[in-house]
């Protein structure tokens, strides 16, 4: 009997594909259903945000940061503002700090909700997606009351925030928080113990502790691999040291652990918002700032724990009204680099699960 000649197949997954979450292209080499090689190809959404920032004033750069990780604009605002404030030497009022923590954690909730929904959708479960969007809608409504925008906020400003937190906002947020924990239970009911879901995620997309560290992964990807590293605790900023919350970690470093870590993070984020609302002090929501901002000559780097991981802004100032250079350390971009390692020996269906479990946003990957 003559031997059957077989060949491996190259598949372009994306940039137009339902589950690459935007314009990511994955080059897959497969043998049957088994993946031999996978490489991510990025750059389809490059808008040159870092370069654009150089021709704009400091405050005009804040709206640009909204367009990075558009699931959590507030976190991006915060990270950039913290970097520039290091060059400005301003005293941020305590009330503003509390509001910043509230909106950053709300962004985390919104981002994780979208992640959970689309992750479940990638695995074929369509219902959690709609449930998650229902809760996200409440968050966006609250943010709309606060600053008038739903996704591109431009809210966190140098020296404080753009508007004060009004009673309707607080009321809306409290109402949402009172039901949120039960809603998370609902998601868990649909997924956590579901045999099909655990089969699809347990042992899939393994990333060991050492690999995670050597790739400089951060956020839930790093914590899912068992590294207890969260900038809110390990390099605190704003008023996070006053908040009481726990950092969840996984054990195996698979997609299921990353899922569990994010679910706990959602509950903890709700807890932080509750504490911040209870402790919200009276006072100014912004410091008095000059009309034209000219930070002193020098450079500053600040990093925060964004929903997707460690988000860093490196700002160089030459003393003029425009930044000389802005460099963004985007967590999605660096986490995405782990995909070839995670997909070793995976099946085609696993690629989707792994990619979903990393949680990337192309706006941030490509900048």
């Amino acid at each position: 009997m003559p031997e059957l000649k077989t060949d491996s197949l190259f598949i372009n997954m994306g940039p137009q594909h339902p589950s690459t979450h935007g314009v990511l292209r994955l080059g897959l080499t497969i043998e049957g259903e088994r993946v031999v090689n996978v490489f991510p190809d990025v750059g389809f959404l490059h808008r040159g945000i870092e370069k654009l920032a150089e021709s704009r004033t400091y405050i005009q750069t804040i709206p640009l940061t909204d367009r990075l990780d558009y699931m959590s604009g507030m976190s991006n605002n915060l990270a950039y503002v913290l970097a520039v404030e290091k060059l400005l030497d301003v005293e941020v009022p305590r009330r503003a700090e509390f509001i910043r923590v509230i909106v950053a954690e709300m962004s985390r909730l919104a981002s994780h909700l979208i992640w959970l929904g689309s992750f479940a959708n990638d695995l074929g479960a369509t219902t959690p997606l709609i449930y998650c969007f229902r809760e996200r809608e409440d968050i966006l409504d609250a943010l709309e009351i606060l600053c008038g925008a739903r996704m591109t906020f431009n809210y966190v400003r140098f020296g404080g925030v753009a508007r004060d937190a009004t009673p309707p906002f607080v009321e809306k947020l409290r109402k949402f928080l009172s039901i949120f924990d039960r809603r998370v239970d609902e998601y868990e009911e649909l997924l956590t113990k579901n045999a099909i879901f655990t089969n699809r995620t347990r042992g899939v997309g393994l990333l060991t502790r050492e690999e995670a560290i050597s790739y400089a992964a951060s956020g839930p990807v790093l914590r899912g691999s068992g590294v207890k590293w969260d900038l809110r605790k390990d390099a605190p900023y704003s008023v996070y040291p006053e908040m009481d919350f726990v950092i969840p970690t996984g054990e195996a470093g698979d997609a299921y652990d990353r899922y569990l870590v994010r679910l706990v993070e959602m509950r903890q984020a709700a807890r932080i918002i509750r504490q911040a609302l209870d402790g919200l002090p009276e006072g100014d929501f912004t410091a008095k700032m000059p009309r034209v901002l000219k930070p002193r000559k020098g450079e500053a780097y600040s990093r925060i724990e964004a929903p997707k991981g460690e988000l860093g802004f490196y700002v160089v100032s030459d003393g003029t009204a425009n930044p000389y250079r802005v460099k963004i350390r985007a967590p999605s971009f660096i986490n995405l680099a782990t995909i070839p390692t995670m997909c070793k020996g995976a099946l085609v269906a696993d690629i989707v699960a792994v990619l979903g479990s990393i949680d990337i946003v192309l706006g941030e990957v490509d900048r």
Binding site: G32, L123, G124, T127, I196, R200, L347, A349, V352
Partner: protein, 338 residues
């Protein structure tokens, strides 16, 4: 003589007016036409039904505007849109295979309806091995789907087609084995005969394990969630029908839902006593039972994620198949004992 009496007169004397072959052919043509119209109407309703149910599961409302009452005309509008779309045949396809595939899939589905007894007298042709006939013709669907995947000259389609071939061939085995228990009890292969045999007690009570296996394997057979691996949209875009659009896609869509109904109807006939039921006419009972199954499939779709291809195969060969054999053995032993 009134109008209806004269119609009846013509109906009774028709066979004597023409050669037997032509008469038979005429009857089959009428039956075929009736079946196609029935399938079209039912699929239109089924799609609307599914969208409403899945909508309410997902705290949405589903279609609401088209046609007034709860968007009842939405699926009709969708179908019209599909009919009016440009007929695109991509340049790289294997044209005869590509063009034939949807027709083969659709025809093999329609043919199965010929033997389904909707009520005591409402059956196009009651052949004495109807069950085998249904499973045999629905296997032909696999060939059509594989042709679609192969002829499309698209890598995603090819992967989807390979998955279909593997899945349907595997799931047919436990499916038929689960039905064997019913044959043993009823001692007939005729669908009407099986329904008659369930006059007093439905086989779902005598064959509970067989019923469960049938439901699972049946859902695997019609590629619905959690077994919709061949067209897993998050992995393979649309699987075997990625390159199809317009009318040709409509044929695939139609046969998918028509196939779902065949599975539901067979479950009704084999396990739920077919047209038997109090008060209401037999046809109504039949549809109620069949639509209970449709509801079950929609419900599963709203609840579960999708299995992975290797897990699905393992589940079929390592769990369903031994269970089906065990069920067969126990049925045989019990029958021999009593």
């Amino acid at each position: 003589m009134g109008f209806f009496e004269s119609l009846r007169f013509i109906w009774l004397f028709l066979p004597n007016l023409m050669p037997r072959e032509i008469y038979e052919l005429g009857v089959m043509a009428v039956a075929f036409l009736a079946i196609v119209i029935f399938i079209t109407l039912m699929v239109l309703f089924m799609v609307w039904f599914e969208r409403k149910i899945i909508g309410h599961i997902q705290v949405r409302r589903g279609p609401l505007h088209t046609g007034g009452f709860h968007g009842w005309a939405q699926t009709i509008a969708d179908t019209l849109k599909l009919f009016l779309k440009e007929d695109i045949v991509p340049r790289g396809v294997d044209r005869p295979v590509y063009v034939l595939a949807p027709l083969i899939v659709f025809m093999s589905t329609v043919v199965a309806y010929i033997v389904i007894p909707f009520s005591k007298n409402l059956v196009a042709r009651d052949i004495n091995m109807g069950v085998l006939f249904v499973f045999a013709v629905s296997s032909v669907t696999t060939i059509g789907i594989f042709m679609a995947g192969w002829g499309s000259n698209n890598k995603y389609s090819l992967l989807g087609a390979m998955r279909v071939a593997a899945q349907i061939v595997s799931y047919e085995v436990p499916l038929l084995l689960s039905v064997l228990g019913v044959f043993m009890l009823s001692q007939t292969l005729s669908l009407s005969g099986i329904v008659e045999a369930q006059k007093h007690v439905w086989y779902v009570f005598l064959q509970p394990v067989g019923f469960v296996i049938y439901v699972i394997a049946g859902i695997g057979e019609v590629n619905r969630l959690p077994f919709d691996i061949p067209e897993a949209e998050s992995e393979l875009v649309a699987g075997f029908h990625t390159e199809y659009s317009g009318l040709r896609f409509a044929f695939f869509f139609l046969s998918e839902y028509a196939n779902m109904f065949v599975m539901s109807a067979m479950a009704t006939v084999l396990f739920l006593g077919g047209w038997h039921g109090p008060v209401l006419p037999g046809f109504v009972w039949f549809m109620i039972k069949a639509f209970f199954f449709m509801f079950l499939m929609v419900w599963l779709r709203g609840t579960y994620p999708r299995l992975r291809v290797d897990q699905m195969m393992a589940f079929c060969w390592k769990v369903l198949l031994p269970l089906a054999f065990l069920n067969l053995l126990v049925t045989g032993l019990v029958m021999a004992a009593f």
